[in-house]
Amino acid sequence: MHLSSEEIEILRIIEENHKLPIQSIALMATCSEDTVQKTIDKLEQAQIIMSYPTLIDWSKVDGQENVIAMIDVKVTPKRGVGFDEVAQRISRFPEVSSLYLMSGAYDLSITVEGKSMHQISNFVSEKLSTIDNVISTTTHFMLKKYKHDGVIFNSGSDDKDRRMVVSP
């Protein structure tokens, strides 16, 4: 889909912070509030704006820590639909938070989130491995998140404003 430079500008602004009021976005992009609203509506409908998730560091919340695993999956592609059919099938499981087709030693890279290692191993052994086209799985448990979606976790004082209050 071809977008105007104004539409791209609006996307760039909300990509960084979708909580900005429409009014502020309009001022930043130097267009009317109406244009911002219509652009956002249009791009939501076109599924270019997919959703507005919030990045939460659950590891900081007692009792809410998730176990996350990245799983390399080898599958047999199917004539006519290639990898799409099996990939879509796997992506429907709510435990799967991301799924990509990869080049290289394996085919699909899956991120799975669960409450415990037990829950994830259940998912792998009972659901994932038993799918017809799945040949093999290799599960890597994530030990610690340092950066996710461009955001550095636990950066400590790294992003503290160290500037003097007033300078020439």
């Binding site: 500008e9 760039r12 001022l27 930043m28 500037r163 003097m164 209050v165 007033v166 020439p168």
Partner: protein, 403 residues
């Protein structure tokens, strides 16, 4: 000692005015919960690859002096950069010096060209260092006031009116601190004619060159007839978010650069070695980050200019840097009163315009190099402050006038 210590001080040094910003800084720094629009530097941290390259150079032991004008490799990168971005060609072997910030480059320029009593035109409102540096070098700074009607851009006429027999040079700073006004190619062509007619030198502070939002930056050195009379000064502080590194450079005609190099080698020897490696990385590989920072400033500029105008603080749309310079005349307060009352009442720090020269009276400098949430909160507080002063704005949105 026979005399008071003051007796031993140089007359020139004694007569230097303390920076008006200092007083205000002390007040703001003593308060809690202040949102500052008074900061004259980027809110970004230096791109990681530049920091990483510098760490690597330390690990590898690059701790010696470098050649006086800086590493040849860096000077080469600087000349590639100046040609690529602004279309001006210099020879890295004898036309470029790496300096301790653009500030040292300005100091070198004045020391190299001024005799006692020579006049230097300083376009005002202006960065606080220019006039004192002229005075320290023995010259007389002559302010050339600009007006808001022309977006604080200096005109050829204003320059000509200030020229005397003693005028030796003019200092241009575009985009300008504190007004953000930016001279276009057409503006510069007009100014160049006067400069040539009166046979002046130009000291061109181009430190904000990478922060131009509406059209590409034009260096005065690229205007016909100006190259041989321009000392071009730039650096890494603003565009590359490297203020604390104190790394700048100058480029100019060989005859002038040779003399500046003499002064540079006696006063400073060279810029820090390991930091020069960071600067090489900056020029080679971080342009996409410069563009992304520029875009971020541009959006915030649009937001702040329109919001201030709506609130009743009229301001022109600055073409560059990260400052807006609104008029506060509608409040009936002086710049200092406004800044002080705003700070005490609403804990928002801005810089009173008069610290940038007499023609800045009636204005304040607001920096938008701070996060959107902070800007939103600061402007909300300013709106509240203005209401107590009986200033009501016009909430209908105005289009940003980009020329």
């Amino acid at each position: 000692m026979k005399h008071e210590l003051a007796h031993y001080l140089s007359q020139t040094a004694k007569e230097l005015q303390p920076s008006g910003i200092r007083k205000f800084f002390d007040l703001a720094a003593s308060m809690e919960g202040v949102i500052s629009l008074g900061v004259g530097e980027p809110d970004f941290i230096t791109p990681w690859s530049i920091r990483e390259a510098t760490i690597l150079s330390l690990e590898q032991g690059f701790t010696s002096y470098t050649a006086n004008p800086g590493l040849l490799e860096l000077r080469e990168e600087i000349t590639f950069y100046l040609e690529r971005r602004f279309g001006v060609k210099y020879d890295p072997s004898n036309q470029v010096i790496v300096t301790i910030g653009a500030s040292q480059a300005i100091d070198l320029a004045f020391r190299a060209i001024l005799n006692h009593g020579d006049e230097v035109l300083i376009v005002e409102p202006a960065f606080v260092s220019y006039a004192p540096l002229v005075a320290i070098a023995g010259g007389n700074p002559v302010p050339v006031a600009t007006s808001p009607e022309n977006g604080f851009k200096v005109t050829a006429k204003q320059i000509e009116a200030a020229i005397t027999e003693k005028t030796k040079a003019i200092l241009l700073c575009s985009p300008n601190n504190p007004t953000g006004s930016t001279l276009t190619k057409a503006d510069l062509v007009e100014i160049a004619a006067i400069i040539e007619k009166h046979d002046l030198l130009v000291v061109s502070d181009e430190i904000y060159a990478e922060l131009c939002y509406d059209e590409d930056f034009t260096s005065v050195a690229s205007i016909q007839g100006m190259y041989e009379r321009t000392i071009l000064i730039n650096g890494f502080s603003k565009g590359f978010a490297m203020t604390g590194w104190r790394l700048g450079f100058l480029a100019g005609p060989t005859e002038l650069v040779e003399v500046m190099l003499k002064i540079h080698q006696y006063t400073t020897m060279c810029a820090p070695h390991m930091l020069q490696h960071g600067a090489i990385e900056a020029l080679r590989n971080t342009y996409p980050e410069v563009v992304s920072m520029r875009n971020s400033y541009r959006r915030r500029r649009n937001y702040v200019v329109q919001t201030l105008n709506q609130m009743g603080l009229g301001c022109h749309t600055p073409g560059g840097a990260f400052y807006v310079f609104p008029s506060i005349r509608s409040t009936g307060l002086s710049s200092e009163q406004f800044a002080e009352e705003l700070l005490i009442q609403e804990k928002v720090a801005v810089v009173p315009g008069n610290v940038f020269g007499e023609s800045g009276e009636g204005y304040i400098r607001c920096s938008y190099a701070t996060s959107m949430p902070q800007l939103q909160e600061a402007l909300k507080r300013m709106g509240r402050f203005l209401e107590t002063k009986g200033v009501t704005g016009d909430p209908s949105p105005k289009k940003v006038n980009t020329h």
